[in-house]
Symmetry: C2
Subunit: 216 residues, 2 copies
DNA sequence: ATTCGTTTGATACGAACGTTTGAATTGTCA
DNA sequence: TGACAATTCAAACGTTCGTATCAAACGAAT
């Protein structure tokens, strides 16, 4: 039924659309810009996806979601090496999965920009990001952290801990250039590794502190 | 020279433009939408500000920047109550200045959305945000934290600590609805206070941990 | 080779965009 | 009051946007 070239066109459009949406945001990208980058006709978007909004959603469904799944798998595989992972292992696995995981630098940048884009200006894709990825990830993160910690941490504390970790993961990606700018040009080598190390250490202490001391 | 109504119009445009830019982003807001909300003529934007891009910049220069200054003042005043503030005081003052400070809830949401907007999709206003506000704030934050801590924390560690704190401050504002959604409807009262408390505690432990243990 | 469903292509539509214009209106000061 | 600059207004500009149309090109099966 399906021939080869239409799939190629469809895939090319998805690729270029994702790159451009991640780079400039939905409204700053025109269909002509996408089809120009994909070297196909203007009408191809409306033929394959109906309209611009649905192309945007398909980018999340067919590009972003599978990648989010890869990140999740990378995270799960890392912590499943030990039967009862320590909090250290959990946080380190999460940080590495997001900041140094299965994605290339470019893919990772796109991936997290699409997340933050929906966080800043929610559209229809927001529900997909939250319900299909964010909430499950947060749930397993909390569960994994719980098994590695005493039970005297209440649910809200655990949730806020998980949010704090995610905050740093997202932010360190988002403003990676800014961080590099502030740190100066002196130490560019293996910055990513040191960022991960800092994030893990900072988070672990934050969690442990939240566990030990009940109130400030 | 200047009469009254033009200033009124100019100010109304700035107010409505800021609200709309913060809510929907630059490209998703049209001049007609702004002038409609400000109840003035379409051409008023081009008369008072030249063009849309410059209106956007003026929003940052004349609305955002003064508010950033108020937040900074609130932060500085809080920590200047004691001659040598503790790290606890510094972080708590910062968190309160941003999350519970001199701004109303609405003004704070706008303020931080304009920050994150420039972080996600930098325009000309990015330099203003970074150089005039972000870098000075980060500098004084690091300096204040340093005086409250032993000197065996290297510069990079201190910078990353400050970034981590800012990450949580920004993120807790950005995804406040999401956090409320995940936490459930059970505990809505004084959530902001508990968020600040969590942020302070998490950060302080993160900093202290970075101070005590040199490597993971 | 012919047919038929699928995909591509060139082109055009109406709407909305940012911007400009020039005439009316307003406020200010001689 | 009259003159003059500052501001507002309605209307239009040219451009670009998302979308629709329809014929041409293509691939696969009869």
């Amino acid at each position: 039924m399906k021939n080869h070239r239409n799939e190629h066109t469809r895939e090319r459009i998805l690729d270029e659309a994702e790159a451009l949406f991640a780079l400039k945001g939905y409204h700053a990208v025109s269909i002509r810009e996408i089809t120009g980058a994909a070297r196909c006709n203007l009408a191809a978007v409306n033929y394959h996806f109906g309209n611009k909004q649905n192309l945007y959603l398909e980018v999340y469904r067919q590009r972003w979601l599978p990648r989010a799944e890869r990140v999740r798998q990378s995270f799960q595989n890392s912590i499943k090496t030990t039967p009862v992972p320590s909090a250290d292992t959990v946080v380190h696995s999460l940080a590495r999965a997001f900041l140094d995981g299965p994605l290339s630098n470019e893919a990772r940048r796109r991936h997290l920009r699409l997340i933050v884009g929906e966080l800043c200006q929610p559209t229809e894709a927001f529900e997909l990001v939250v319900e299909r990825v964010f909430r499950p990830l947060l749930g397993s993160l909390i569960a994994d952290l719980r098994t590695a910690m005493p039970v005297d941490v209440d649910e809200e504390q655990a949730i806020l801990n998980a949010f704090s970790i995610m905050a740093m993961v997202l932010y360190f990606n988002l403003s990676h250039p800014l961080i590099k700018s502030v740190l100066g040009t002196s130490s560019d080598n293996d910055l990513k590794t040191r960022l991960v190390d800092h994030l893990v250490e900072f988070s672990l202490n934050g969690i442990a502190g939240g566990n030990r001391g009940s109130d400030k």
